[in-house]
């Protein structure tokens, strides 16, 4: 199908928008101390931050898949008030200001709270641990997976799952062999988005988990600290963060394209 041409004037605000988005990123690339970049990134603090970020984001993505995927499945089948309520609940953490997410976690799971105290007496003390970083990241990142997969499940028109069930396949088999493969691209892009969101997580981590090299100080927290100490290091680390985020977004776009092609 050939779409009608766009009016020419659209190009002007469109170009302005593109420039507006590109200029800050380009400015940072210009400002990067390229010659000193390897030395700046090879410091123990920088490597610890990068390593911790990657480890926690992998864990966060895994937890998001294990818990978020079933939630997406249940929500996609839900009807009525409870399902709408569940969908809102799954979306709100996406739009919360980061510090608010941290405060919410603090009043729910802090050491002085009922839940936090109960966990602590069971030997699980989250305060200032790497586990707290994963909790903070999962709280803000899992919704991306849930929303992305739930949307795909609801818009899947073909009733392959119904056919499979009619042919005698058990629910788990239908889920494993039919339903999940159909939304695989959405699961992939949702997981990539969750990973990217977890990588950029800052406010909830600094409020809830603290900041200690190698334990809780992820890449964004290290950038925040270096901004006060050494701007060059902060910019060098920012470029790494931007590069990883760009790669993830590119991967997501690729998955999205393969998903739209009918198989």
């Amino acid at each position: 199908m050939i779409r009608p041409a766009l009016p020419r004037w659209v190009a002007v605000p469109a170009a302005a928008a593109a420039v507006f988005l590109a200029v800050p990123l380009l400015a940072m690339l210009v400002r990067v101390p390229w010659v000193r970049l390897p030395a700046l990134l090879a410091t123990p603090a920088a490597l610890d931050a990068l390593g911790l970020s990657l480890r926690t984001c992998v864990l966060t993505t895994a937890v998001s898949l294990v818990l978020g995927l079933p939630l997406a499945l249940v929500l996609s089948r839900g009807r009525g008030r409870w399902a709408s309520f569940g969908r809102i609940l799954a979306t709100v953490p996406m739009v919360l200001p980061p510090v608010v997410a941290g405060l919410a976690l603090l009043v729910a799971l802090g050491r002085r709270t009922w839940l936090g105290g109960t966990l602590a007496s069971a030997g699980i003390d989250l305060a200032f641990t790497t586990a707290a970083v994963v909790v903070a990241q999962t709280f803000v990142a899992m919704p991306y997976l849930v929303v992305s997969v739930e949307g795909a499940l609801r818009s899947a028109r073909d009733r392959y799952d119904v056919v499979a069930a009619t042919l005698g396949a058990r629910p788990t088999t239908v889920l494993r062999r039919v339903t999940l493969p159909l939304v695989a691209p959405a699961i992939g892009s949702g997981a990539a988005l969750s990973f990217a969101r977890a990588l950029g997580e800052f406010g909830a981590t600094i409020t809830f988990a603290g900041s200690l090299q190698g334990t809780t100080r992820t890449l964004p927290l290290e950038i925040y600290l270096q901004r006060e100490v050494d701007t060059d290091t902060a910019i060098a680390l920012s470029v790494v963060l931007v590069a990883i985020a760009a790669l993830l977004v590119a991967a997501t776009a690729r998955l999205g394209r393969t998903g739209s092609v009918p198989s």
């Binding site: 603090l106 802090g110 050491r111 002085r112 305060a127 200032f128 600094i206 409020t207 603290g210 900041s211 200690l212 090299q213 334990t215 809780t216 100080r217 927290l221 925040y224 600290l225 901004r227 006060e228 100490v229 050494d230 701007t231």
Partner: protein, 248 residues
């Protein structure tokens, strides 16, 4: 606003309403870039300054000292710069951002704070901290550098569970009971009120932070800026700073 109106009304009866009648647009505005720890005391001083200096108004921007320096070197329109430590001001002087010689107008020392009731039974920088959650400022930010210096003087090795970028983050973690103890400035301990208890640290005065104030070379209102600095270093300023816990 109500406070200011009240101050104006009181002043009006004395000064025949000269200053208070001046519309905001005709006032000379002094823009003050000040360290975050000065927030409440400078806000109070700003109100007093405006009341006693008809025709002048003060606008504040509070942030970490290093951030203020970054903004100033990027061309921020500051008439006064007040930093929470000497090294940051020295950097500003080296970068030719400051005209005259900076003045030390206050000092701050560190103290230990614990949540109200001291649930973890902390007694100071000693064995009572073993297995407890201590939160400090990160080395490199002013309060963290002072903490490192003090620990060195006392010959103790700290094992914090978190090193925060801002002293207010240390405070918040102790106030909420997430941390068992924290090292902050005495002014923060005072600002926390009943939420925390202070445990003084021996020789804290030897790791003192000097607060410096100066007029940037790029100031558009250098005369009014000098008046504000005079006010801060004068008797009104000294009283307000002492009330907040700062040393002279």
């Amino acid at each position: 606003m109500r406070l200011r109106a009240g101050a104006c009304a009181a002043l009006a009866s004395v000064l025949l309403a000269t200053g208070c009648a001046t519309p905001a647009s005709q006032r000379t505005e002094v823009v003050v870039y000040a360290a975050a720890s000065l927030n409440s005391v400078f806000t109070r001083l700003g109100t007093e300054f405006e009341a006693s200096h008809p025709g002048l108004s003060v606008k504040f921007s509070f942030d970490g000292s290093a951030t203020l320096l970054d903004q100033l070197s990027a061309g921020a329109p500051a008439d006064v710069l007040a930093t929470a430590d000497e090294p940051t001001m020295a950097k500003a002087v080296t970068a030719h951002l400051i005209g005259g010689a900076p003045t030390v107008f206050a000092t701050n020392v560190l103290t230990m704070i614990v949540p109200a009731g001291n649930p973890a039974g902390i007694t100071g920088l000693d064995r009572s901290l073993e297995g407890r959650k201590l939160v400090v400022c990160a080395d490199g930010v002013p309060c963290g550098s002072a903490t490192r210096k003090l620990a060195g003087l006392l010959g103790v090795t700290l094992h914090p569970v978190s090193e925060e970028t801002k002293v207010t983050d240390v405070r918040a973690k102790v106030e909420t009971g997430q941390a068992d103890a924290g090292i902050v400035y005495v002014t923060d301990a005072r600002a926390s009120g009943d939420a925390v208890e202070s445990i003084p640290i021996a020789h804290a005065d030897q790791a003192r932070n000097d607060y410096l104030i100066a007029v940037p070379t790029s100031a558009t209102q250098p005369v009014a800026a000098a008046q504000f600095i005079e006010f801060v270093t004068g008797s009104s300023g000294r009283t307000a700073l002492a009330d907040a816990g700062f040393g002279g």
